[in-house]
């Protein structure tokens, strides 16, 4: 029963993109088309499951001080693997994802799950957690990608939605496939999720699950002390 929970929590309740707000870069970059969203989601899910399993198995052998570089190397290994597989079997997806495929290495979702979950739990739970988070990520990408593709190019998975007769009258809004549209749609989708869930607004960024949380907090602390000293000097 609890194993089922590890899987389902990533789908909705702790959806990595829409609730914990991690992995923004690929979400914004490759969601111009719904099919790219599936490709990216599948690749990330593969890496998430594999790295979660590997890190869960290795958790006793990785020294605490060098754990983040070790995790990154494990993740980069699996990213290289999936890149080679995609390049060989689905070159169309490989070309569409381009630079964002190797950049899965530094996707905060994967590092975040390694740090928050896989390094503390057993193999089966970690694999399910990875699968759930990966599928949740894919669903979020698919939602954003569908909205952007339908509004921005008038197609869905490449199928034209506007009848040929009406193509003169109904022009797709290109702005949605431009970068600006990506920020806008993602902002609106997160706002919608907030509204439906009736949650109190989250922090500015998904800091709770971010592996960099400590250093981010130290940045803010350092800034506030600088400001305080400035204020004191002014006095």
């Amino acid at each position: 029963m609890s194993y089922l929970k590890e899987f389902t929590k990533g789908l909705v309740k702790e959806n990595p993109t829409l609730v914990t707000l991690l992995g923004m870069c690929p979400t914004l970059a490759i969601t111009t088309m719904a099919s790219n969203a599936i490709g990216m989601g599948a690749a990330a899910t593969f890496v998430l499951i594999c790295s979660n399993v590997a890190i869960s198995l290795l958790k006793k052998f990785i020294p605490k001080q060098v754990r983040l570089p070790s995790y990154i190397v494990v993740i980069a290994g699996f990213v290289t693997l999936i890149s080679l597989i995609l390049q060989a079997f689905v070159p169309a997806v490989y070309d569409a994802l381009g630079i964002y495929l190797p950049l899965i290495t530094v996707n905060c979702i994967i590092l975040g799950r390694a740090e928050m979950f896989a390094s503390k739990n057993n193999v089966a739970a970690s694999a399910l957690d990875g699968a759930g988070m990966g599928i949740g990520f894919t669903l979020a990408l698919l939602a954003v990608g569908s909205i952007r593709e339908i509004l921005g190019s008038g197609t869905w998975f490449g199928l034209p939605l506007i009848p040929e007769a009406a193509q003169e009258a109904i022009k797709p809004m290109t702005i949605f496939v431009l970068p600006a549209g990506g920020f806008f749609v993602l902002g609106c989708v997160i706002a919608l999720v907030n509204k439906i869930a009736n949650r109190k607004p989250p922090e500015a960024t998904g800091c709770a699950a971010c592996p960099n949380r400590e250093s981010c907090i130290s940045v803010e602390k350092a800034e506030s002390t600088v400001e305080n000293t400035k204020k004191e000097e002014n006095k």
Partner: protein, 201 residues
């Protein structure tokens, strides 16, 4: 003259038309996370630019004189991320020992950079685009400066945003993303600028 011209094209493209944050979506996490104050944005921007240039200077020769002769090009992601992690650590140590004043102002940003996809992105793009050594360095510099400019502009926007009354569901991240969308839209205006300035070379 031609060299200077092509360098200027790469530099301006990186800063304005192909801005890393606003049109390539690289480095979104620090863009949204650390851009609350302009001092923080400036510090983060300087640190990222420095690491980008150093990492490019280190990865370019390694790729071309080590990976290519050994036919190990597919290992570039692993190698580059290790180099970046190494560099961040090294810069941190050097700054701490020799320039403590600079370490005090920049040191806190350094750990954030290892997992910044803009840094790994620029090293990989340099290889993908087939740039030579000088072009790679200029491209890294342009990308870093573009990152800094986007962060600085956005910190100003956020300063105003903090004092606005936004609908409850939009509070926090959603309204920040919508604001980023408008800033990104303004950068679309630079499209064609580089071609216009240098006669479409």
């Amino acid at each position: 003259m031609d060299l200077a011209k092509s360098m200027m094209i790469i530099l301006l493209t990186g800063i304005l038309t192909d801005n890393f944050v606003l049109s390539k979506f690289l480095g979104i996490c620090p863009f949204l996370g650390v851009s609350k104050t302009s001092s923080g944005s400036l510090g983060m921007g300087c640190a990222v630019t420095a690491v980008m240039v150093c990492a490019t200077a280190a990865t370019y020769p390694l790729y071309h004189f080590f990976l290519v002769p050994m036919h190990l090009e597919y290992l570039n992601t692993i190698l580059f991320i290790l180099i970046i992690a190494l560099f961040v650590q090294m810069i941190e140590m050097v700054l701490k020992k020799y320039i403590p004043a600079l370490y005090k102002s920049l040191g806190v940003y350094l750990p954030l950079i290892t997992t910044n996809c803009a840094v790994l992105g620029v090293t990989l793009l340099n290889i993908d685009n087939g740039y030579n050594f000088l072009e790679s360095i200029i491209n890294a510099l342009g990308a870093g400066l573009g990152f800094m400019i986007a962060m600085l502009i956005f910190s100003g926007v956020r300063g105003r945003l903090e004092r606005c009354n936004v609908p409850k569901a939009f509070a926090g991240m959603p309204i920040t993303l919508v604001a980023a969308s408008i800033v990104s839209l303004s950068f679309v205006g630079f499209g064609g600028l580089v071609d216009g300035l240098f006669g479409g070379a």
